[in-house]
C-alpha cells in the first residue's frame, strides 16, 4: 500500500520540523521548515497544515523544545512546555489542541514528580505516542477499507488526511472497484486539491463536484455512501468537521445514504453544542489566491466548521484509543 504524503504530513529531522505545505498541493509537494514554537503556531493559524497535520505539529513542537540546548533546568523546561502549550491552544479554537497539549503536560508533571530524567522521559513518551498513533491509524485504514468495500460510488468531503486513498487502494487490491466523488470544499478547496490529487495518485477514479451538487448525487442514487473525517469528537458522538459536513449528513439521512465518519473518540466535550466554532477572516472567502472575486461592497461570512449531531451518523469508524 502506497502511503499518501497527507497521511503523515509533518516529521522531525535533526533539529527541524518539516511540515507539508498543504496549500501548495497539487502544484508542489513542499515542506515548510519549522524551527521554533512560534513558527509552528504560524503554520497552524495560516492553515498550511490542518486536521491530522495539526496533531503532528503539536507533538513534534514539544520534541523541538526538548532539543533546545538553551533550556538548562527541568524547571525551565516545564515552564517552556506550559508556554508552548498555551500558544498552541489558542492558535485555532475548534481543534482540541488542549486535549493533546494537556496530555503532554501531564507526562511532564508525572516525570518531574517521579524524579525521572525529564528530557529522556518526555522524548520517549512523545515518540512512543507518535509510533502508537501511526499504527492505530493504519488499523483504522483497514477498518475503513472493510466498510467501504461494500459500496461502489462514495462521496467524500474535504480531506481525510490520506486514510481514504489508502483504504481505496486496499479495496482495489482486493478486486473491489470503488470510485469517488469529491466535493471541491470551498473556500480552501481541500477536495479539489488534496483529495482529488491523492485519489488520482492512488489510481482510484475520482470525479469532482461543486459543494452545491451533493443533494442531486444522493437523490438520484449516483452515490451509495458518504465518508468524512472529523476534527473533534464529543462524548455523545457528535463531531465537528469541515464546513459543509452538516448539510451532507442531513441529506444522507433524508435520502437513506449511509454516512460514515472517521473519529478520534473523546469524552472531554459533552456534546456538539459545546464545541467552539472558528469564524475566519471574510477575505479568505472573498479572495482566491489573493485576488478578490466578489464585487466591492459585498461582505462575507466564513464559519470554518460544522457540528454534526450523532443522530446523522450511520457508523463511526473510530481510532482505537486503548
Amino acid at each position: 500500500m502506497k502511503e499518501s504524503p497527507l497521511f503523515w504530513p509533518a516529521f522531525l529531522k535533526k533539529d527541524v520540523l518539516f511540515v507539508l505545505d498543504e496549500t501548495l498541493i497539487p502544484e508542489k509537494v513542499k515542506y515548510i521548515q519549522v524551527k521554533t514554537p512560534s513558527q509552528a503556531v504560524k503554520v497552524i493559524k495560516t492553515m498550511k497544515t490542518r486536521a491530522f497535520g495539526q496533531f503532528l505539529v503539536v507533538l513534534s513542537t514539544f520534541l523541538l523544545v526538548l532539543k533546545d540546548k538553551n533550556i538548562k533546568s527541568d524547571k525551565a523546561l516545564v515552564k517552556k512546555f506550559f508556554d508552548v502549550a498555551h500558544a498552541l491552544n489558542k492558535s485555532r479554537p475548534t481543534f482540541p489542541f488542549s486535549e493533546v497539549t494537556g496530555m503532554i503536560l501531564g507526562w511532564a508533571q508525572k516525570a518531574q514528580k517521579e524524579n525521572k530524567d525529564l528530557r529522556l522521559s518526555l522524548q520517549k513518551s512523545i515518540e512512543g505516542f507518535l509510533f502508537g498513533i501511526r499504527g492505530r491509524r493504519l488499523e483504522r485504514v483497514q477498518k475503513l477499507a472493510d466498510t467501504i468495500k461494500k459500496h461502489k460510488v462514495i462521496l467524500t468531503h474535504c480531506n481525510v488526511s490520506g486514510e481514504l486513498a489508502m483504504a481505496a487502494q486496499i479495496c482495489k487490491s482486493a478486486g473491489k472497484n470503488i470510485s469517488f466523488f469529491a466535493t471541491e470544499t470551498r473556500p480552501y478547496f481541500q477536495g479539489s486539491r488534496l483529495t482529488a490529487w491523492e485519489l488520482k495518485k492512488a489510481g482510484v477514479p475520482v470525479t469532482l463536484v461543486a459543494d452545491n451538487a451533493v443533494a442531486t448525487l444522493m437523490r438520484d442514487k449516483i452515490i451509495d455512501a458518504v465518508v468524512v473525517g472529523s476534527d473533534r469528537s464529543c462524548a455523545n458522538g457528535d463531531f465537528a468537521n469541515k464546513i459543509g459536513t452538516l448539510q451532507i449528513a442531513v441529506l444522507a439521512k433524508e435520502f437513506d445514504v449511509p454516512f460514515y465518519v472517521l473519529t478520534q473518540p473523546s469524552n472531554k466535550v459533552k456534546n456538539g453544542g459545546d464545541i467552539p466554532i472558528e469564524i475566519r477572516d471574510e477575505n479568505e472567502l472573498l479572495k482566491v489566491r489573493g485576488k478578490r472575486f466578489a464585487p466591492k461592497g459585498v461582505k462575507g461570512f466564513y464559519p470554518g466548521f460544522d457540528v454534526v449531531p450523532h443522530k446523522f451518523i450511520t457508523k463511526a469508524i473510530a481510532i482505537n484509543v486503548n
Binding site: 497539487p26 468531503h157 466523488f181 466535493t183 471541491e184 470544499t185 470551498r186 473556500p187 478547496f189 479539489s192 486539491r193 482529488a196 490529487w197 485519489l199 488520482k200 477514479p205 475520482v206 470525479t207 469532482l208 463536484v209 461543486a210 459543494d211 452545491n212 451538487a213 451533493v214 443533494a215 442531486t216 437523490r219 464546513i243 459543509g244 459536513t245 452538516l246 448539510q247 442531513v250 441529506l251 433524508e254 466554532i277 469564524i279 472567502l285 472573498l286 482566491v288 489566491r289 485576488k291 472575486f293 466578489a294 464585487p295 461592497g297 459585498v298 461582505k299 462575507g300 461570512f301 466564513y302 464559519p303 460544522d306 457540528v307
Partner: protein, 162 residues
C-alpha cells in the same frame, strides 16, 4: 458572528428576475445572505451587484455554509431561483435541493422565484477545475457539473410567478 439573532437571515440562491428586488424593497429588507453559486459564481457576481444597486447589503457565503446558518437557527426564509415548474417538481438553481431539505429539517419556509438566467442543465467539467479563471484542481480527474436540479414540491412553501 455577523448576527446572532435567531430566525433573522433571508437566504438566497440564484440570480432572480428584477421584480424580486421590488419584493425585497417593499418589505424594507436591508440585508440578505447569498450563496456564491459555483461554478460560475453568479450569486457572487451578478446577484450581489443587483442587490447593492438597490441598497440591499449582500453577505456572501460559500455553497457549503448554509448548513451552519440553519444549525444556529439563524435562517428565517429561503429564496431559490427556478426555471420551470412541472407537476411534481420545480427546476431550481443547483443547491436548491440542499436548502430545501435543510429548511424542512428546521421548519423554515422555502419560496421559489423565476430566474433571469438562460436554462442550461450541465456545465463543461472543466468549469469546476478552476475558480475565477485560475486552475485549482488536481490534473487528470473527472468533473461533473450539474447546474439545475429538480426540487420536489413537497419541500416548497410557495411558488412565485412574475
Amino acid at each position: 458572528m455577523l448576527t446572532e439573532n435567531k430566525k433573522s437571515i433571508i437566504l438566497l440562491n440564484g440570480v432572480f428576475k428584477d421584480s424580486f428586488l421590488k419584493i425585497l424593497k417593499k418589505r424594507k429588507i436591508k440585508e440578505v445572505f447569498i450563496l456564491e453559486g459555483r461554478p460560475y459564481l453568479d450569486g457572487a457576481k451578478e446577484m450581489c451587484v443587483k442587490l447593492l444597486k438597490n441598497n440591499i447589503k449582500a453577505v456572501l457565503i460559500a455553497d457549503n455554509m448554509a448548513g451552519f446558518l440553519f444549525y444556529k437557527d439563524l435562517v428565517k426564509e429561503v429564496w431559490i431561483s427556478y426555471q420551470e415548474e412541472s407537476k411534481k417538481n420545480v427546476l431550481c438553481k443547483m443547491g436548491g435541493l440542499i436548502l430545501s431539505v435543510m429548511a424542512k429539517h428546521h421548519k423554515v419556509p422555502v419560496m421559489v422565484f423565476p430566474s433571469c438566467k438562460r436554462k442550461k442543465y450541465v456545465a463543461n467539467p472543466k468549469d469546476i477545475f478552476s475558480f475565477n479563471g485560475k486552475r485549482i484542481a488536481a490534473k487528470g480527474i473527472d468533473g461533473f457539473v450539474p447546474l439545475l436540479e429538480d426540487v420536489p414540491k413537497k419541500y416548497i412553501t410557495e411558488i412565485c410567478y412574475e
